[in-house]
Symmetry: C2
Subunit: 458 residues, 2 copies
């Protein structure tokens, strides 16, 4: 048995280094049979990861050799950055079959990110009933609960017993892949509560479903934002959340796996936005896309930096008389920038988790200022000693120490107040806080240090 | 009906501003009855959030007035930063009762963060069987699957039918709150697969469970790290994951709600670590704790900044001859720092999601360098024009433009290579990349700009 056959046969179904290089060998040899043996045991999510990690020419080759096996599950696991490319490379019949086997919420998820002509191809591949369902879902706003939900719900009238519900489920022609509750509805399809499958299974047939309802029951409007949906799942430890329309009628259900994906995406978005990386950033983005996405933030930062330079320019004469100031001034600005980022990150995170509210805002602002003052004094003292020994000018030591205190307090204040103000005005604090906070810390840092120097030293 | 009674009665069970201020009024008036009416309709998670948001004296007062109603669910929702304080303020009998009603995994979660004496209090409040279970769970490493799992599992022998399983569940004296699968085990308790409750409920009584098993089935070792557990849940869209010991025998199960909590915590940790905020940071931390946590990073940053200053000091004579260099040099360092942070954030995130692998590393490094070069040239050109017009020295324009290209390429290289190298050496890239990347961008930025200036301008 060759080594490659050995890998294909192995019970360990992971996408490890050995398997990847075996796959690349099979691709290079154009051996479709071997490639299929190697990919077959993998989970759809791992096959999608593999496609993302390959360079474009290898990816095309894998798709060509393996196209017959690309199913709906793989398609919905593929990152949006390469989805369009993959869809273009699939034969029409493979694509149609792949799409047809998906739940409607997964089809919606795929369609959202595609251009018009590709959307048409996929919509026309669907059966009529599914197409209508998908088009209805697409009529909800982007990133809303309506887009996220699956329309296939398992419901029962309030007055049913366990036995009636079980008989109904056994007789059902089709059931969703994922369901964890039976939702009890009134005759007008308004949800009244739900029963977990575990409780149903462990109860006698003659028990009324109504008596098994969970204490805590929530629904969400279809127009609600998906970030709020993710919050509700995390906060209340839900497994599924029924979705209602504007008349409170049941229109679908969101399950926790979708909420977890949203949580993960929201988080990635916050992290990348705080670092000034565009929303769409992914490792599969091209050089041009990545450069363009990051240039926006770099441009904003350039304006901030030029503003800081204008402050320095005000004190050009002072620096001319004492070049040590030029040597030390970046330290003050750098410490301010870091302290500001620390506070800002805590604030952005606390706003996202709703831990920072009108209730505790004032106390947290006071706390941050106190933290800034304490660390300002500690590091001001350290830097005063360093500068004193370095340049032998006692007054210079005093100036840098004092500048450090002022800058770190300003950084703390800016770091907490700016995200809160942005949130109040409905601007995403993760996206917009950075430039403002940096401006505050740079300007205050240079102004305090050079201003104090020109006043006290010359 | 007074306004406060009106709020207490309202159907909307949210922790909004009106309710919070009504609660504070009730606390100020020392009115336990009214406070209870206001808190009663809230979910345990919201009551815990309220306690976190109150200042310590109000919190003590709420606990005093409401202590009888503090149950296990509230206790396990409370953030670890104030949990110790809350436990100290609860009467022993209330605490004992609260702890006794929890599943063992929740008790473990509470115990982990407590000091020895408080652990003893809680352990002694448990019934014998539960205490043994909790102590066994605590014998697994911190942040392992064994700590996360619940030991209460619902299993069935492989050869059972749906009917036998349902009868068994109906006869069971006790079942876990949360279970979504019945795990099929062999006689030696080795898991062979699982059946979703939905499929069981919708199948005839005479069907063999074996025929209903899910295609995809994974288990995890009890010693596996919880971050890996969260990855498995996200990657494979699992709802529950059986946990096995070193002999592959079933010892527990992890459910998706716990995995979602871990995912959320891991994210928070990455975000805070990248910003240099200590691990334990929470809004309820005291000023001293917060100041101390952040001082570590500020100290590292101080060393970096001093290193950068030493570079500047090398060129003190050059600056002395042309003060415009002091005005412009922070721009180069700032742009480098930002570009480095962008790349580093993308890299840290991609490492966490396992999108950046040995397979595509070289391609991604090349991409980042290309992005750095493109943006370096673009912003180098812009700054050359700005500096040229500002100071009227054409050669200065050339120097800053060239320095910008070099710095942004170095930032890109450092931003991608440093996190990858740290990961290779098992050091958390989220925690340690920042200082290294900043050092690279600062040192290269100042060196390139001032070095080119002293070479070309003087």
């Amino acid at each position: 048995m060759t080594e490659i056959e050995d890998i294909a046969d192995t019970e360990d179904e992971a996408l490890d280094r050995r398997r990847v290089s075996a796959i690349l060998d099979a691709v290079a040899a154009g051996d479709a049979g071997l490639l299929t043996d190697l990919l077959e045991p993998l989970h759809a999510a791992d096959i999608a990861d593999l496609l993302e990690q390959l360079d474009p020419s290898d990816r095309r080759e894998v798709l060509r050799l393996y196209s017959g096996e690309i199913d709906g599950e793989i398609l919905s696991e593929i990152d949006e950055s390469i989805r369009e490319e993959v869809i273009e490379n699939l034969p029409a019949d493979v694509l149609a079959e792949a799409v047809r086997e998906l739940d409607t919420d997964d089809v919606v998820d795929i369609l959202e990110d595609l251009e018009e002509p590709q959307q048409e191809i996929i919509l026309s591949a669907l059966e009529d009933a599914d197409r209508v369902a998908v088009e209805q879902a697409l009529s909800y706003p982007d990133y809303s609960a309506g887009r996220l939900m699956q329309r296939e719900v398992v419901v029962a009238p309030e007055h049913w017993t366990v036995g009636e519900a079980i008989d109904h489920l056994r007789g059902a022609e089709w059931l969703p892949d994922q369901f964890y509750h039976v939702i009890l509805v009134d005759p007008r399809m308004k949800p009244r509560g739900y029963v977990t499958l575990g409780r149903m299974l462990s109860s006698r047939r003659d028990i009324a479903l109504r008596d098994l309802m969970e204490d805590s029951f929530r629904t969400v409007r279809a127009t609600e934002e998906e970030a709020d949906v993710a919050y509700i799942f995390t906060q209340y430890h839900l497994i599924s959340l029924p979705v209602v329309d504007e008349n409170d009628r049941l229109v679908g259900v969101i399950t926790i796996d979708d909420a977890m994906t949203v949580l993960d995406e929201e988080h990635e978005e916050d992290m990348l936005r705080m670092a000034g990386v565009g929303d769409e950033a992914s490792l599969s983005d091209s050089v041009a896309e990545a450069a363009k996405g990051r240039a926006v933030w770099l441009f904003v930062n350039l304006l901030t930096a030029i503003l800081a330079s204008l402050v320095i320019d005000l004190f050009a004469d002072t620096i001319d008389q004492m070049v040590a100031l030029a040597v030390l001034m970046p330290i003050v600005a750098s410490m301010g920038g870091n302290a500001g980022t620390q506070t800002m990150t805590v604030a952005v995170r606390a706003l996202a988790t709703r831990d920072l509210t009108a209730q505790n805002a004032l106390r947290i602002v006071r706390r941050e200022i106190a933290v800034g003052a304490i660390n300002g004094m500690a590091f001001g003292l350290v830097m005063a000693l360093v500068a004193g020994f370095w340049f032998g000018v006692p007054m210079l030591a005093g100036v840098i120490g004092l500048a450090m205190v002022l800058t770190l307090v300003a950084a703390a204040l800016g770091g907490i107040v700016i995200p809160m103000a942005l949130e109040r005005f409905d601007i995403d604090p993760a996206l917009a806080s950075g430039p403002f906070v940096t401006t505050v810390t740079d300007v205050v840092g240079f102004f305090a240090f050079l201003g104090l120097a020109s006043w006290l030293l010359l």
